[in-house]
Amino acid sequence: MQQYFERVDWQGLKLPSAERRQRDSSKSFERSVEVWKDWIHLKKELVTSQA
């Protein structure tokens, strides 16, 4: 495992593009139909548990 971690791209992780990529993936995710369906389901569940 020590050797495995020595292949981690620490330089790449420090680049701002890594954060931008994360932001882009979340936005495209939010727009998907599947997520909307789950979101509606989750909202109902939260309302029920709060009541």
């Binding site: 495992m1 971690f5 020595e6 979340s26 939260l46």
Partner: protein, 182 residues
């Protein structure tokens, strides 16, 4: 439901929902359907990265308690290695029949993609048990820019083309109970 999120994050070595979203790139859609949280893939944790969320913000109070602020997850740190492995596997390659030179990898590095990942997944529960919740908690050595004998990771394993792949940081795996030294 939040307990389910915790389990999903643990299983996939992620510290937050934001990490889980990133992790999705390595999954096929079918892999993600069995679990509500992995299927949902909505990330409140991104708020911690100053990312403006729209409807997902409404979940903040429910998800905030399971985030670890400012730390790099095991999954995020090793994702570029696992992405390289995924690319090999998606074109039908495997540990046994892949010509490492085609990918610009040496034999040891290629074998590590499989063996190292397996070792990591096996070892992380012991590390967590010992208080090392993320890779950011491990002791590390920073190499000075004056040192010339730097290791450079192969381009196929780098996060992006802008990375020069120079290894100036070395994390050290501590000796903890239940962790094999192999």
């Amino acid at each position: 439901m939040l307990a389910g999120l915790n389990c999903t994050l643990d299983e996939w070595l992620c510290d937050s929902f934001a990490e889980l979203i990133e992790e999705m790139e390595l999954w096929k859609w079918d892999d993600a359907t069995g679990d509500f949280w992995s299927r949902l893939r909505l990330a409140k944790a991104l708020q911690q990265s100053n990312i403006s969320f729209t409807w997902a913000e409404q979940l903040y109070s429910r998800l905030a308690s399971v985030h670890i602020t400012g730390k790099l997850s095991w999954a995020a740190a090793t994702r570029s290695i696992r992405e390289c492995k995924m690319r090999i596997e998606r074109i039908g390659g495997s540990r046994l029949d892949t010509d490492s030179e085609v990918w610009g990898l040496d034999q040891t590095t290629e074998e590590l993609m499989w063996a190292g990942e397996a070792a990591m997944r096996k070892s992380i529960p012991a590390l967590r048990q010992a208080g090392y919740d993320s890779i950011s908690d491990l002791p590390r050595i920073q190499q000075s820019y004056r040192e010339k004998a730097l290791e450079v990771i192969p381009p196929a394993m780098r996060i992006c083309a802008k990375s020069n792949g120079e290894q100036r940081v070395h994390v050290l795996i501590p000796v903890v109970q239940g962790l094999s030294q192999k």
